[in-house]
Symmetry: C2
Subunit: 199 residues, 2 copies
Amino acid sequence: MEYYSSHISNLIEQLSRLPGIGAKSAQRLAFHIVNMSSEQVRQLADSMLDARNNIQYCKSCCTLTDQEFCPICSDSRRNPRVIMVVENPRDLAAYEKTGKFDGVYHVLHGAISPMLGIGPDDIRLKELMRRLQNNEVDEVIIATNSSLEGETTAMYISKLIKPSGIKVSRIASGVPVGGDLEYIDEVTLLRALEGRVEL
Amino acid sequence: MEYYSSHISNLIEQLSRLPGIGAKSAQRLAFHIVNMSSEQVRQLADSMLDARNNIQYCKSCCTLTDQEFCPICSDSRRNPRVIMVVENPRDLAAYEKTGKFDGVYHVLHGAISPMLGIGPDDIRLKELMRRLQNNEVDEVIIATNSSLEGETTAMYISKLIKPSGIKVSRIASGVPVGGDLEYIDEVTLLRALEGRVEL
């Protein structure tokens, strides 16, 4: 794109690599950014670097956090005997917003997908099984998405845990089929939690 | 949002200030960014700072560029006697992509909008008038958007230039090529009817 300066072309190209940012949005964002104050751009750039460089996986639940253990796992008011398994931190946040779940989480960072070549070893499943070894957990609530991958993952985890005698449940349908947890309203999320059935 | 690390919350907040990025997209982008390699995040952040800090307005057409004069104004193959007036550099890029305009541009960086309190002095209009002073321009093609603001700006510029005897034209508005009549708004349909040309 000869008609833009190389600095802007480069910025547009970098931005268009982000998910959900097409060529047009990248252009729009790039021109917005060059029109921001230097200070604002510096803050935006720093916030990216800060987040990237200070983030780690919680040693217990595997969510992204800036400490060894995340705020939820460190909170003594939370019940560590009930673990809700979610696909990613955004889904964790979605359930936290309901304010009605007082257990802890386990973040898989993905779902099993034979289509995409993502197997059980590619998600944080070993870490979950390790948490269940010491007889300190009463129930595992599987809250993966109700997509094909989410359901496959739920079935797989259920079969893996059942032999140990720990109660395994799945959030109820009520979450629309094919729906992505993070976009679903809180009432539906709560309905699904209350209606969970043992697997 | 206590359930995110402050670094991520901060990044989400920074991202959600960008145009067209809502709370959900900001979350999605933030988690994508913390999952990128350090090197990729560094490149993204640098591209923003580079673009912001190396960009200036072309001394002739006012588009954003990294040199005193933009590549188009510096190109001897372009005809400087025909100036197309656009609202912003994205519109310039849109016409450049057609590859069929060999004149030069003038970028207003906005449009007159009494509603938003944007007057003629708030866009790069003085700079346009200055370019017309030395009898070196034959035609000014006004290619502002066909919105209320764009039309207002076109009328205003037209009245300003006309006394000088320079030809002023306006790009045609009408039904887009490939557009299905039934989905096009009435104002556009009327405009297309009024602007009909004899075959």
